[in-house]
Point group: C2
DNA sequence: TTATCTGCAAACCTTTTGCATAGAT
DNA sequence: ATCTATGCAAAAGGTTTGCAGATAA
């Protein structure tokens, strides 16, 4: 499953004649398997810990490469830090404005909604639409509980 | 019109007991009247040129303040720079991935779409949704023309 | 009056760069 | 063999901070 994603992404890169270095493979593999929305630093620290030969500059370079091929997307939560997410299946993100947690939402309804959005945009702006980034903000259930707001959320 | 927006925003801040310094008013007014998605630096340079007493730190502080009250939203185009937009009327943004231009889209259909998105999110994640940020990416008409893609876009 | 904001400049932190070496194709 | 990526460390760039003086309420 995740392995399929990884192979799929590798193939895309190969098709574009991108040189597949061990570092690039490692980072890609890391992102495919960690849906924790890591920052560059987290990726770097984790990989270094596992004795992988890697430098922070390479992580930055590779992330940018993956962004270029839309294999990864960039996310910012409220506190200003930048996070990354492997973007295999179409989904969008929900950010908790209290704890900063980012959650993926995969749902069929999203596909329709996404299509409508692209339609509307094309009609209104005459842009040639290639993709969209959707981010919903709010309070996660845990933080609602902290604030004693759960009843309100259920209604 | 823009003046109404400005007064509306001022009232919100006043209601929250935010101290209304000349610098804050100037920056707010600037944002209400410049839908050019300026960066902090642009705002600072423009205001300084008009002989306004202001420092870059104050621009940063005020922007953060306005973000907190959701009077302004933060945007990133492809090239990594950070831009801001006064967010009076609900709208979303379309970013040209070639030239970096950011365009506002105001449309009634967006309201419905936005509502559906919030619905879906609440059902799927049990978040207490407060807002959403939507960004569509593609090629603007001008850049399509540059690449001789206009015919394709019209179809 | 008094708590808060401003301006300045230094500090900070994330990201980028330049260059010599290593390595993928 | 060749062209591109890596790693390092230094530089850059953007953002934040600490503090003394100013000021909104």
């Amino acid at each position: 499953m995740a392995q399929d994603e990884y192979l799929h992404a590798l193939k895309i890169l190969r098709n574009h004649k991108v040189r597949l270095t061990p570092q690039r493979k490692t980072i890609l593999n890391y992102l495919v398997n960690h849906h924790t929305h890591p920052s560059v630093e987290m990726i770097y620290d984790d990989l270094k810990q596992h004795n992988d030969s890697i430098s922070i500059a390479t992580v930055y370079n590779t992330i940018r490469l993956l962004l270029d091929y839309h294999l990864v997307i960039e996310l910012k939560n409220g506190d200003g830090s930048t996070h990354y997410d492997y973007f295999g299946q179409p989904h969008y993100h929900v950010v908790c404005d209290n704890c900063g947690k980012i959650t993926d939402v995969f749902t069929d309804e999203f596909t329709d909604l996404s299509t409508s959005l692209d339609e509307i945009t094309r009609q209104q702006t005459h842009y040639l639409v290639t993709r969209n980034d959707i981010e919903v903000h709010g309070l996660c259930p845990e933080c609602q509980a902290k604030f004693g707001l759960l009843a309100q959320a259920e209604k």
